[in-house]
Symmetry: C2
Subunit: 256 residues, 2 copies
């Protein structure tokens, strides 16, 4: 088993941010400066073309640490952030651009789905190895309650099959904004933990009915669909239940 | 214009409950025992076959008064609660029962829709007269911010056309659990105030797609769809944004 190797550390407003690697995979761990007795651990996915320190992700991570005392971990998806871009990654992106410039929506969908499946196949074992390694750290520990903190688009394309196979995840946030394919539907049918599903109501490319079918497919007894107008780029979320993860993972430290 | 005639008053845990009539319509007004400077006013609809003091409605009203300092008003829909049952009401109910016992879903839908339209036609002017009268009270006043507090089923079948024509309503909570018909769709297209829409995800009778089309029809820039599993009788709501109305109406008094 690979261990966490810390490579950098900085602190800001009560949050310690530590860069690390687990094997070849670079990650970042945010945790409370004053360690609580038992921190829950939130796994944060990033969107397609983005990376583990995308500003919106960092800002959500800080909020989770300071408000709920969670520890938060993010890793770069294959071909993203600090990761090398493989021949396959480069080819998929060239095909995206081509399909977009031709206005070939069917081709765009086919390439997106094939690439998402490939990324998830590689990313799921990387997340599990990261989870193994991070829960070896004394301040997290093997019994830390674990949640998946989502991210729409690629964060869900990876997080959904991860949650389907990873029994340590007790609650998960997913979202719309990407094409729905049979592998995702199959993974959703295997998920029984509480799910919060965030749907941008208007998407230029993605058929709304397919995303609603995905929400319908979760086997979870507790699941919430939350939709607001906008597509996954323009959406302004309003009134999201921010206590979804703390309610299921427990909170540590002092709420601000 | 008819005025509010108070007929009874009682107090419990910081909430004053006053029964009243406006013309022929019986209602109830809940307000903070220690009157805030400026109370927002929430109009609460009740479900089909229920009435203005249904326990769930009373409990939500108390919460709105004690948590946010709102004043809350409810009236009996025509043929409901203390109201006389007209020949039309009695006939519609007999037809319901008959359609149900025959398992005739199409007939059940046709009767439900016809009856809902008739109830809304009568209830909308009653609500507007109630609003006129209640805002004449010195502790509410003509400038009180007004919200519609919803209720699924009949509460929405009445509240939706009310909100479409009543400019004093600044924000509204509606919900699914009933058949969607063209008059409702037309009303939704005229509504531009913020909307919170609560959808029981699984309904034995109501087609989900029609309710999603209704949500889609609101012209509001801010609208939120919140769905949980269950039908309108069995649903267990989870993580609803309780601050939706206070955010748009303002809060008075002291939050508990």
């Amino acid at each position: 088993m690979e261990s966490v190797r810390f490579t950098a550390e900085r602190s800001s407003r009560g949050v310690v941010e530590r860069d690390f690697t687990v094997g070849e995979v670079p990650g970042v761990l945010w945790s409370p400066a004053s360690a609580p007795e038992q921190a829950a651990l939130v796994l944060m996915g990033h969107g397609g073309g983005l990376h583990k320190k995308t500003p919106a992700l960092v800002s959500r991570a800080h909020e989770m640490v300071t408000t709920w005392g969670h520890a938060v971990v993010a890793i770069d998806a294959p071909g993203h952030g600090e990761r090398p871009v493989s021949v396959e990654d480069a080819q998929a992106r060239a095909e995206f651009r081509h399909a977009m410039s031709e206005g070939d929506v069917a081709r765009f969908e086919a390439v997106s789905v094939r690439y998402a499946i490939s990324l998830a196949e590689r990313a799921v074992p990387e997340w599990r190895a990261t989870l193994d390694a991070v829960t070896e750290l004394s301040e997290i520990g093997p019994d830390a309650p674990v949640g998946y903190g989502g991210g729409i688009s690629l964060g869900t394309a990876i997080g959904l099959p991860l949650t389907a196979v990873e029994p340590r995840i007790r609650a998960a946030i997913f979202g719309g904004g990407f094409f729905v394919y049979e592998e995702l539907m199959a993974a959703a049918r295997r998920i029984t933990v509480p799910v919060q599903f965030l749907l941008p109501w208007d998407d230029e490319y993605v058929d709304r009915a397919s995303t609603l079918a995905l929400f319908d497919a979760f086997a979870s007894q507790e699941k919430t669909l939350h939709a607001n107008p906008g597509d996954h780029r323009t959406i302004r979320w309003v009134g999201i239940d921010q206590e979804f993860l703390p309610r299921h993972l427990g909170r540590a430290g002092k709420a601000t």
